[in-house]
């Protein structure tokens, strides 16, 4: 028996000045599944993520998350119902330390922040969960470094750590391996393999080896349309996909 769907995207549309970035896109992600989205540059992958997180408004269509329509929820409200996003271009708090970056995300989910007196760095209810996450992502010994002192690979790990700190049900990962060295990506594949046992994941990634080894199912996006969805094997065999996408690379 298959798990219920955690995310149901139905006939989603987004125009940008005549360009159809998302074209009648439908997609279902099952609970606990790692669902990868692949597609050539300009296929509308990041636009889709932005529509799911609420950073940009959709022209039409609907998104159900955990059975609820999230159309009216703001970006921050969507974070609070368990949708977390990592950014394709690293988006961290540059003048904060590694630990402070994660604390800020933990804090966002511990009620309101109209607390004016107690020191954040002495508040164990914030630092303990943050340290746990850094331990999980093997960044603990870098906790007091400023973001700018981290290598690119470490920044990508931290990018993920900040997303995890929001206690999500589902992760929307926008090219987590972007710009990584082979060694760093191999390490991240290991991390993602561990994460997929805890979270539902929607993964956008150009690294095909990573996608085909990690994904339970793959959706292929071309010009804002989902042209195929299936297991890695099905996608590999799909003639339309081979022609539209994989063929280009071969």
């Amino acid at each position: 028996m298959t798990a219920p769907d955690i995310l149901v995207v139905d006939k989603l549309v987004k125009h940008y000045d005549g360009l159809l970035a998302t074209d009648d896109l439908s997609l279902k992600v099952r609970e606990g599944e790692l669902h990868a989205i692949i597609g050539p540059n300009g296929a509308g992958k990041t636009t889709l993520i932005k529509q799911l997180t609420g950073e940009i408004a959709s022209d039409s269509g609907s998104v159900l998350f955990g059975g609820k329509n999230i159309h009216r929820l703001s970006e921050s409200e969507r974070s609070h119902i368990g949708l977390a996003r990592s950014f394709q271009i690293t988006s961290l708090f540059k003048d904060f330390t590694v630990l402070e970056n994660v604390i800020l995300a933990v804090q966002a989910h511990k009620g309101h922040s109209f607390r004016f007196w107690k020191k954040v760095d002495q508040d164990r209810t914030l630092t303990d969960p943050a340290l746990d996450i850094l331990r999980r992502l093997k960044l603990e010994d870098r906790k007091d470094e400023l973001v700018s002192a981290l290598s690119h690979g470490e920044q990508r790990q931290l990018e993920l750590a900040v997303a995890l700190a929001t206690e999500p049900k589902m992760l929307l990962l926008d090219e987590p391996m972007a710009g990584m060295s082979g060694e760093d990506s191999a390490r991240l594949v290991g991390t993602l393999a561990e994460l997929k046992t805890h979270y539902s994941i929607l993964l956008i990634e150009h690294d095909m080896d990573a996608v085909f080894s990690l994904a339970d199912r793959i959706t292929v996006l071309v010009y804002g349309q989902a042209i195929a969805t299936g297991t890695p094997d099905e996608i590999r065999e799909n003639a339309e996909v081979r022609q539209a996408y994989l063929g280009e690379e071969a």
């Binding site: 997180t53 950073e55 703001s74 970006e75 921050s76 974070s79 609070h80 977390a84 996003r85 950014f87 988006s91 961290l92 708090f93 540059k94 003048d95 904060f96 402070e100 604390i103 800020l104 995300a105 804090q107 966002a108 989910h109 922040s113 109209f114 607390r115 004016f116 007196w117 107690k118 020191k119 954040v120 760095d121 508040d123 914030l126 900040v162 997303a163 700190a165 929001t166």
Partner: protein
Amino acid sequence: MTLSIRFFINAALLIILALVPFLTDWAGDSFYTGLVSRILILAIAALSLNLLIGYGGMVSFGHAAYIGVGAYVVGIGAFHAFEDGIDWMLNGYFQLFTTLAVSAVIALIIGAISLRTRGVYFIMITMAFSQMLYFTAVGVETYGADDGLTIYSRSDMMGLIDLNDEKSLYYLIFVSLLAVLYLMHRLVGSQFGNVIRGTKSNEARMRAIGYSPYKYRLTAFVIAGIIAGYAGFLMANLSDFVSPDMMHWTRSGDLIIMIVLGGIANLFGPLYGAVVFLMLGELLSSIPLTIGGLSVGEYWQLIFGPLLIFIVLYARNGIDSFLPGKGRRT
């Protein structure tokens, strides 16, 4: 916790400030107590503005308006007590409460509108609001219009403290400064401060991890306005005079210069900035040098301007970069 060199520099500055009335007594020149009082009041206002600019990235260009509001509350109270015999309007606690309340309401209104904009629009809209208050003060004939209002009677603190005594007033100002420094230290290190600093650093990510920064920024705006209003309350009592000029946008610019000069997002920065800005102004304007019939002192800003440009160009953290050790961020 190890004590840094900077800790001792900051402590030394505060100790010197604590001794100022005695030092000037000893030197037999009480003029400097007044000057330092003025510096500390503006430091309080600059500290509050630094919460917005240094920590929050909100470059408010109308902060002097709140100083004016606080000063006018004292001035108007004294005016009615003097002209109409309404004694309770001289009550210092009434004046203080009114100052804080009016500053809060005005900051809430200005902030609620301004904080919907970003960048240069935010700068322009805060400046526009402060100029509206400036021109309001210029237009009100009853309260002296652009001539201002002489305060014949300082706030009556009912025997708790006598503001007519320069030393008492000085220590009220000094203790207020310490309190505001400590308040900023706590605020910036708290969850609230974390949100304010995080939003300056990366607003898009703040939203993505679940914050709605607007209400926090507005709260910071109101806190800063209240503290600056309080600075105005002190200023009116110090100078016995209030005029629209206190609210002019160039006065707001002075506060920004103090912050930049002192080192942005640095707890003690605005204090150093205020000290250097006003001391330098005082020193340069008293240069007894005349070149070709022109007194150098009279055109001191010709020297001050390039000096400022030099500091901003070569020391990104202002005076902070010239002092040994690392400044406290919080």
